[in-house]
Each structure stands twice: as structure tokens, then as C-alpha cells.
Amino acid sequence: MPAVALTVNGKPVTGDVDPRTLLVQFLRENLRLTGTHVGCDTSQCGACVVHVDGKAVKACTVFVWQIDGANITTIEGLADPNGPLHPMQEAFREHHGLQCGYCTPGMIMTAVDMVNRKGHDLDDPTIAISAAAPATITS
């Protein structure tokens, strides 16, 4: 069982994990951070996107041992729990950017990453294409 140490939402965490444990399983099952959801088993839906060292990553494509030492932000850590929403969370709410809410955490984390990467270069076509192809660990 490999031992891993990560920083998740600003807090150090450690764990002994079965080598086949995916990052998303570690977050949901070991840390009980259930805001990140699983929508597929082929790494295509983007529901599971979190930030690994500041970049959007599908948490279902990564074994947790692969990213030992990394800094992870999940939807739970995007904004101060006692403060206002992150502007992207607020924008999703304000513009009815969600219905059932299941993939929403992944979409918000993806959107934040898009803004981080592209800033003011974002226009509608770029958003449509980028939303269709969220980043993976290799990008």
C-alpha cells in the first residue's frame, strides 16, 4: 500500500492507498469530499474535474500515488466556506448554468481553469470548444 501525502484545499492529508485508487476515489471515499462526482468510467464527461497544482484535471484519470505531494483544490475549497461564493460559482447561479447540479462542480472547476489559462481571450466559440475538451493530466 503506497503512502501518499497531499495538500487538499489547503490542508495536509496523508493516506495508505491501494495502488489502483483513483484521485476521485481518494477524495470522495477517504476524505469524504463528495462535491466532486463521477459521471463516467471512460474519462469523458468532466464531472470529476478538480485542480491539481492549479490545473484542471479529471480526477478519474489519475491514480492518487501518481501525484504524491501535489496541491489539490476541489469545489469545496474554491471559496472560503464562510465567505461569499467564488465569482464563477456566482456566475453559474446567476445565469442558470446548471439544472440537476451533479456535474456542476466539475464544470465550475473547468471554467475557472479556462479563465486562468485564457483570460480575456475567451469568446463564445473558444468556450464551446474548451468546454467540450476539458484538460487531462497530460495537457
Binding site: 463521477v38 439544472q99 456535474c103
Partner: protein
């Protein structure tokens, strides 16, 4: 209207938890001592199960139980059932084959569960499942519904000769024949309404838990109708008496119909939880969802429309084979019959209609209701025939529609339905303006300059929502009533809880239902909570599907609010020392008519509970009322969608360049949410038209079994949508609501196909109209032209 009342685009209350990751979906629930179930499924479409060897698996680390259909039968766990009885034209009843939760003796589709492994961890359950040895004897498989009834086709269930479940019909065959004999023009079409995989983003999941102290079971489940699930699992499957079975449907991540049905997995989780004495959790993987969620559509249809010399439709004749898959799912039988045949009049005055539907078994996953359920299929039939008829007769498709529209209401169609209200001219007219129909020729010429083929397609659809009057559906074979319930609980401080039998899985009921209460009682939105999805909280309810929550669910709330107001007025009369009849309630205030004497809502609520100002023996203390609302009719949302496409003749690629939707949903509670429903529906309809199609090969293997092989619509597949509304309130419920959840998915597919066929000048195009399909249709049309 107050700022948060009916008609206000207020932002959704539920979003706070969803955007912060604090939603609670079934897989987010973890019970103390929980273990995990993994289903071993048949890799064969049709096979006899000769023997299942489970010993080696049971000895694997962490394994608590390995269970098969043998144990299930031994424990007398009942079969899953279909709850809508259809009678064939010869008077015989539909042929419902036994559907055990774990296959027993024979597996009938790829994905049919044959064993379940319960273990400490999911990984251990999966590892152990590899050690289960199943001895199969392969049988010839049947996947194509068009071949199901042929001589020599594999026989799937003994009860259904030639795999035929029923041969149903509706309408007047004779009158139709007479009309066809004197027709000036007849338009004939053959088409397949392609099979779809629902793909709600949250995969199905279940946790079963047994409490031996109270001998009761609890199920957390991704269901759209927890009470119906409890009823079926209690009365038919026999897991526990109803009062000893609690079903909780927490936040649910989309359904589109696929989460209405009662599936094998939740039955097994409950059964296994009692057997192992631990909570048992199962969560579908996406690949598993592809194989086991009930699919949608899958019709093979021949249809003909007769026209007179003026272009008036005189008759419609439809013959459909509907694939219901390997077993009859919960409401499967109603979809290609009473949700399909009854809508074949469209928005038109068609004097005679005759529809025949043969439902068949195949070795594929069961097929049941999927967003629109029967109505997209009906709309496709009617709107293709009208569009092609217009082209064949050289009449503008908008004009042909106008000529045939129903103008007077109520209107009795030849296929059961009485349309209560509508204005089809108004929605068409508005859509023509918004889409700039007059400028289409110019745009087409511009496209041609860039070597693109431009086409325009209409869909003036109708649907029946707000299901449904219980007596009426009962007379048509439905096993349940389709009313809805509500309970309004006013607290002493004046805040309100509304309990509803509807269930939200994306619709925003926590907001819209609260808006109705806010408007009626004049209290802030944040003082209202909407509770749903728990059989221990809500006494009974029929759930959410068929765009019924507004028309039926809100109507029940209105009925309960009527009672609340009546009771509160009595309390206020005592407080204000006035006659009950003199109390007026408006803007959250009870006033004695013609005076300035008044009591605020909160004061009256408090007095209802302190009961100091009236004799509690004469007027009951408290302020809580319930209601069951049974609708008087279906509602009939209708509208006009116009799709404009550009096709690249070199590649066959179609791009939707413009979309206009003008819908008549009657009264709208929250226009932002309604627009969102229209957007989602159109996206799903475009998915069906351009991208999606479940394909089984001849051996019954699903070859489109992942998001890699089954193409879902993405943001860049859709243009910016122009969504507008017209409003003729429904006279059939107190607020005039019609329902909006399915309209987009009903209207869209045929609008797209009408547009592409217009662009390429050929009607011979199947869904999904992929680049390959369009390119081939273009080549065929060219070859035909060359040969001519």
C-alpha cells in the same frame, strides 16, 4: 405579481448547495457498516444458464455473499412488473413475461444480471466476480425489431408467440380507407425512430439497509418517483410491507424518464442487505448504465397521409413496430400506445386517423419512456408527413400547416384527446417573424456562394402533458392513479414547509413551488422550504415525469393553499372580532373589509398555534392542510420550432446555424427555468437527430456502449437558441400551467431532419443524420438525378 412570485425569473434556491458541492446524491450517502455490491452480467444476448459455480468467488477475501437467481427464487422475491395493461385488437391482454431481478434459467440481453457479489469493498467484489463461473448455452439472438415477428425468428419468451407483446390499434380503419380512396394526393414515408440511451449524468445508484429491530428496510435510490418504487417493491416484489419500507430519493442528477422505472439493482440491494445484515451499496458505472438503463424510442414506422385538392389533410394511417427489449419495463407498454397514437392528430384537423402498433420483444435492454416518451415519435410522424406533403404538392410548408391547423377549442381529435386550448397560428406567426422566414431565400443564396446547401425545417408540435386524469388513464389500462399530493405546513412563526409528491432532478421545484407559495401568502421566498423525495416525510405521491409537476403538482399545492387560506381566515376573524365572511386576505395581510383593522400573516399563524383567541374545541388549533389534486384533462403545450442548417456537400457535415423556438406553455412560473428546460430539450432532440443512436449488432451486442462510441451533443453542436413564448393558459388547472419539460425534445428532431432534407433535396435520410449519412443521401440523390 410580487418580486418572487409567479412569473418572476428568480434565481434558484437549490443552487447554493449545488455550486458549492454540497448536494447530496445517492452515491454521496455512506451508511455505517456499508458493504458493496457488484453485478455479474450476461455477456451474451440470449443464453441458457446451465450452471453457476460460486464457491471460488465466495472464498475470496472480503466477500460476504454471492447470490444468484436460484437464491432469489428460493426467497420468493417477486418479479418486476409493467404497470400499464394494453389490450390487443383481438381483445387479448399483453404478454408480460416474467422478469426476475436476477436472471434465472436464461439470460435475455447483454447486461442481464446473473449473479451479485457483496463484499467489504467494491474492488474485492469485482475481484471475486471474476471467479464466478457461469456455464452458458448460447442461443440465437434477436436484436432487430423489424425481424422479431418473422417466421423462424428466435423465440425469447414462451408466453409471446413470434415475440409479439401486443397488437394494438386506435382510430377508425374504415373511415381512413374511405378517405384514402378519394384522396387527391398521398404522402408515404418509412422511417426508424432511432434508439437512444438516456445518459443522465448521474449513474443509477442504490443503498439498501435493514433494521432488524424494527424489521424495516430503507432504500436510498436515484428515482424520479420514490412512492411508486415503494409500492411496486412492496406489493409486487414483496420485499417488505409498505409501512416497513422507506424510500429516499435524495438529490438526483437527471432522469429523463430513465429513473422512473423499478430496476433489478435496487431490489437486489434491499434483498441482499437483509441477507448479509449490512447496508449494501451499488453504483452503476457508465458502461453499466449503457447496458442496463432502459433505452428510449426504437420504432419502425410506415405512415401515409391523404390530402384533398386544396391540401387539406383528410386522413392519416400509421403502422409501427415498437421494440420493448427483453422484458417489459415499468411503463413501457404505454409509450408506443397511449402516449403515441393519441397525439397523431398533431396541431391539425384530421378527420380520420388509424394507427396500429405491434410491440415486440428483442434481446436488447428494455425500452421505456425517455424525455417525451411517444410524443416525439408521434410528432416525427406527423411533421415529416406534413413537410414532405408540402414539398410534393408544391405548397409552402408554413402555408400547408396554416391551412390544416385546428382553430376552434375545445377540439376533439379522432384519437381520444380533447385539446382544451391553444393558438397554433400565433406561435407559427411569431416563429416566422423571429426566424426571418422571408429572408431565407437570400440566406440560401449566400450559403450557395460559399458552396453550402442551406435548408429550413419546421416542427409545429403538440404534446399531452400534466398526466393525467386518473379515471381516464385507468380506463386505458394504467395500474395507478396519476393525481398529485401536497401538504402545506405553516409553522407558528409563519414560515412554511411544502411537501410534494413530485420529485426534482434538475427541474428547480424548490424554487418554482416556493414562488407559488410566496405569491399566494405574501411571504418571502426564503421563508418557504419545499420537501420531497422521502416516503417517510411525504405521505404519497406519483413523482415527476411527463411534464406533470407544474400542471398537477403545483395544482395540488394551490388546492392545499386554498384550504390554508380558508382556515387562516377563520383564525383571523376571531383575532379581529369580525365575521369570517368579512375577512379579506391580500399581500400577506388579513383585513376586515372596509376597515383598517388587520392582522399580518405571521400573527395569524402564531395565533393558530397558541389558540388563545378562539375555542380550540370548535376551531382546531394549528395550520396544516393537505390536498390530492386529480386533473380534469391532460394539458396541451404546443408551439413552433424552426431549424436552419447549412450542409457542406463535400463532407456531408450539417451545422445548425439558427434555431427559433416559440412555445405555448400557458402560465409560466419562472421564465428563466422554463427557458433552461427548452434549451435542454432542444439539445437532446438535436442529439437524436444528428448524433445519437444505440446500435446493437446482429448478435445483440451493444456496439455503442460508451461515450466514445455513442455521441452526445456538446456545446459546439448548438447555435445560440432564440426562445420565445406565446401564452394561452390551460383551462384545465387553477393556474393555467401546461408544462415545459419535454417540448424541446419533442419538437427538435423533426425540425432538424426537415431542415437537412430541405437542404439536400432528398427525403431519404435516417437519424442520426451524421456527416456520413447525409453525404450518402446526397450521393444517392445525385445518382437518381443522373439516372433520370
Amino acid at each position: 405579481m410580487n418580486a418572487t412570485g409567479i412569473g418572476a425569473a428568480v434565481r434558484r434556491k437549490e443552487d447554493q448547495r449545488f455550486v458549492t458541492g454540497k448536494g447530496h446524491y445517492t452515491d454521496d450517502v455512506n451508511r455505517p457498516g456499508q458493504c458493496h455490491a457488484y453485478f455479474l452480467r450476461s455477456p451474451h444476448a440470449h443464453a441458457r444458464i446451465k450452471r453457476i459455480e460460486t464457491k471460488a468467488a465466495a472464498a475470496m477475501p472480503g466477500v460476504l455473499a454471492v447470490l444468484t437467481g436460484v437464491e432469489l427464487a428460493a426467497d420468493k422475491i417477486g418479479n418486476l412488473i409493467c404497470g400499464w395493461m394494453i389490450t390487443s385488437k383481438d381483445g387479448s391482454q399483453m404478454k408480460m413475461a416474467a422478469h426476475p431481478a436476477i436472471a434465472h434459467g436464461k439470460a435475455n440481453y447483454v447486461g442481464d444480471p446473473v449473479a451479485v457479489v457483496v463484499a467489504e469493498t467494491l474492488a474485492q467484489a469485482k475481484d471475486a466476480a471474476e471467479k464466478v463461473n457461469v456455464d452458458y448455452e448460447l442461443l440465437p439472438a434477436l436484436a432487430d425489431p423489424a425481424k422479431a415477428q418473422s417466421e423462424g425468428a428466435p423465440q425469447i419468451h414462451e408466453i409471446a408467440a413470434r415475440n409479439t407483446i401486443y397488437q394494438w390499434h386506435l382510430g377508425e380503419a374504415k373511415a381512413v380507407e374511405v378517405a384514402f380512396n378519394s384522396a387527391k394526393h398521398v404522402t408515404k414515408l418509412d422511417f426508424i425512430n432511432n434508439r437512444l440511451v438516456p445518459n443522465a449524468i448521474e449513474p443509477r445508484a442504490a443503498i439498501g439497509e435493514y433494521d432488524s429491530g424494527s424489521e424495516s428496510l430503507t432504500l436510498w435510490n436515484t428515482t424520479q418517483n420514490p412512492h411508486v418504487a415503494r409500492l411496486v417493491m412492496s406489493a409486487f416484489v414483496g420485499l417488505a410491507p409498505e409501512h416497513k419500507l422507506r424510500v429516499i430519493a435524495p438529490d438526483v442528477g437527471g432522469g429523463f424518464g430513465s429513473k422512473i422505472f423499478i430496476y433489478p439493482e435496487e431490489v437486489v440491494c434491499l434483498w441482499a442487505a437483509r441477507k448479509v445484515g449490512r447496508p449494501v451499496k451499488w453504483v452503476a458505472e457508465r458502461s453499466e448504465a449503457f447496458l442496463t438503463d432502459a433505452h428510449g424510442r426504437d420504432h419502425v414506422t410506415h405512415a401515409e397521409m391523404a390530402f384533398d385538392a386544396e391540401g387539406k389533410a383528410t386522413a392519416l394511417r400509421v403502422k409501427t413496430i415498437a421494440n420493448l427489449g427483453a422484458y417489459m419495463s415499468t411503463f413501457s407498454s404505454s409509450v408506443p400506445t397511449y402516449l403515441y397514437g393519441t397525439l397523431l392528430s398533431g396541431q391539425y384537423e384530421i378527420p380520420a386517423i388509424y394507427c396500429e402498433v405491434d410491440a415486440v420483444y428483442t434481446n436488447t435492454v428494455p425500452v421505456d419512456a425517455y424525455r417525451g416518451a411517444g410524443r416525439p415519435e408521434a410528432t416525427f410522424v406527423v411533421e415529416r408527413l406534413i413537410e414532405v406533403g408540402a414539398r410534393e404538392m408544391g405548397i409552402d410548408p408554413a402555408d400547408l400547416r396554416k391551412k390544416n391547423f385546428i382553430k376552434n377549442f375545445p377540439h376533439q381529435t379522432p384519437v381520444i384527446m380533447t385539446y382544451d386550448a391553444g393558438d397554433y397560428h400565433a406561435s407559427l406567426k411569431k416563429a416566422l417573424e423571429v426566424a426571418d422566414y422571408g429572408g431565407f431565400g437570400k440566406r440560401k443564396r449566400e450559403s450557395a456562394r460559399h458552396d453550402k446547401l442551406r435548408g429550413i425545417g419546421f416542427s409545429t408540435y403538440i404534446e399531452a402533458c400534466g398526466i393525467a386524469p386518473s379515471q381516464a388513464v385507468g380506463s386505458l389500462g394504467c395500474g395507478v392513479g396519476l393525481w398529485e399530493s401536497a401538504e402545506v405546513r405553516v409553522n407558528p412563526t409563519g414560515t412554511v414547509e411544502v411537501l410534494t409528491g413530485c420529485h426534482q432532478h434538475g427541474q428547480g421545484h424548490e424554487t418554482t413551488f416556493a414562488q407559488v407559495v410566496s405569491e399566494r401568502l405574501g411571504i418571502p421566498l426564503e421563508n418557504v422550504s419545499v420537501l420531497h423525495g422521502d416516503t417517510d416525510k411525504v405521505q404519497f405521491g406519483m413523482g415527476t415525469y411527463g411534464s406533470r409537476s407544474g400542471a398537477v403538482g403545483i395544482s395540488a399545492i394551490v388546492k392545499a393553499l386554498d384550504k390554508i387560506e380558508a382556515k387562516a381566515k377563520k383564525v383571523a376573524a376571531h383575532m379581529l372580532e369580525a365575521a369570517e365572511g368579512d375577512i379579506v386576505f391580500a399581500d400577506g395581510k388579513f383585513t376586515v373589509a372596509g376597515t383598517d383593522k388587520s392582522s399580518a400573516w405571521g400573527e395569524v399563524a402564531l395565533n393558530a398555534y397558541t389558540a388563545h383567541k378562539f375555542a380550540g374545541q370548535e376551531l382546531e388549533p394549528g395550520l396544516k392542510e393537505g390536498a390530492f389534486y386529480d386533473p380534469t384533462n391532460f394539458t396541451f403545450p404546443a408551439g413552433c420550432h424552426i431549424c436552419e442548417v447549412e450542409v457542406d456537400p463535400q463532407t456531408g457535415e450539417s451545422e445548425i446555424v439558427a434555431w427559433t423556438a416559440v412555445d405555448d406553455f400557458g402560465t409560466v412560473i419562472n421564465p428563466m427555468i422554463v427557458e433552461g428546460q427548452v434549451h435542454g430539450g432542444i439539445a437532446q432532440g438535436v442529439g437524436q437527430a444528428l448524433l445519437e443512436g444505440a446500435v446493437y449488432d446482429k448478435d445483440g451486442q451493444l456496439v455503442t456502449g460508451s461515450l466514445m462510441d455513442y455521441c452526445m451533443p456538446r456545446a459546439h453542436d448548438l447555435p445560440a437558441l432564440k426562445v420565445e413564448m406565446t401564452r394561452t393558459p390551460s383551462p384545465s388547472n387553477p393556474l393555467g400551467i401546461k408544462g415545459c419539460g419535454e417540448a424541446g425534445a419533442i419538437a427538435a428532431p423533426v425540425a432538424v431532419i426537415n431542415a437537412i432534407t430541405d437542404a439536400i433535396g432528398s427525403e431519404d435520410l435516417a437519424m442520426p443524420a451524421t456527416a456520413q449519412a447525409v453525404w450518402q443521401a446526397l450521393q444517392k440523390a445525385q445518382d437518381r438525378r443522373k439516372a433520370a
